[in-house]
Symmetry: C2
Subunit: 169 residues, 2 copies
């Protein structure tokens, strides 16, 4: 592919000739791949009567421990009422701890309890295994391209959350 005549030299130019069919295949690939992507954690979650919303909350609390509800809201892109319901069950079940802010008592800072960390680990293990297998099968060059396209597909303000987590903080 890197040697197709006339496609190299200046980046991207050949892609001016993207057919609708090529794009459609990319769209479907996203659809089916996302199903595979969530399948393994979904199985674990449904066993304990949780859903994807719980997974997302647990994931980002793990990544940004001590985050406020508001911050989590902007990452997840749901209403606070929606998040709150999920958060409440996680707190009631002892997976998440909510501490009242010290400087601003309106804020709640969220942390995983040991049980929460345990669930997070099980979920991310399953998802990482799938990811690792796909990466190996596709090869390192493919992975770089994969990431590039995904990053270009994000909404700019969502990309901020994503990149923000990668940058030193």
């Amino acid at each position: 592919m890197a040697d197709l005549p006339g496609t190299q030299g200046h980046t991207g130019e050949s892609l001016l000739f993207l057919t609708d069919e090529q794009l459609r295949q990319g769209i479907e690939a996203m659809f089916f791949a996302y199903r595979g992507f969530t399948a393994d954690p979904d199985r674990i979650l449904s066993e304990m009567h949780y859903g994807r919303a719980h997974h997302r909350a647990v994931h980002f609390i793990h990544i940004v421990p001590g985050t406020t509800v508001n911050n989590l809201l902007s990452i997840l892109g749901v209403t606070k009422q929606s998040l709150n319901r999920v958060l409440r069950t996680l707190i009631d079940d002892g997976l998440v701890e909510s501490r009242i802010g010290r400087t601003d008592k309106r804020e709640r800072h969220l942390f995983l309890t040991p049980d929460g960390r345990d669930l997070e680990h099980r979920l991310s293990d399953a998802q990482r295994a799938r990811m690792r297998a796909a990466y190996r099968q596709a090869g390192p060059e493919a992975v770089v391209g994969f990431r590039k396209v995904l990053e270009a597909m994000m909404d700019p303000d969502l990309q901020r959350h994503y990149s923000g987590l990668r940058e030193p903080r």
Copy 2:
């Protein structure tokens, strides 16, 4: 990027050293990218009080015109009750036509009406525009890698539906 020292040459080998952090970034990239991926059609759909379920049905009826309900079920991976609710509204609204099978009269074959094709076009236009922009921004090599990883991430039986649509039939 293709010139990073030590990452090129033999495919795959360097990725034996995938850190959890690298994998986690891939997972988050999938999460945020999928949000961007569905954002544009979601806007169009919500204007007309439809949801993603309607989009998926319309999309695959467009791709496989004349498909039976059962076949659509296996592509979408939902129950017939769930699909039926969506399908009924689409038929009532005159976007989908259901024809009784000629050889097997138990089957219903599904087709888009002109109005249905119109909606399909508006939805896929929006999604293709996002896809095209991402492809251009990432470059042709990245696109190949993107597709490779996505295909490796699918469940094998879902991949069948996906590939099946690409193969000549």
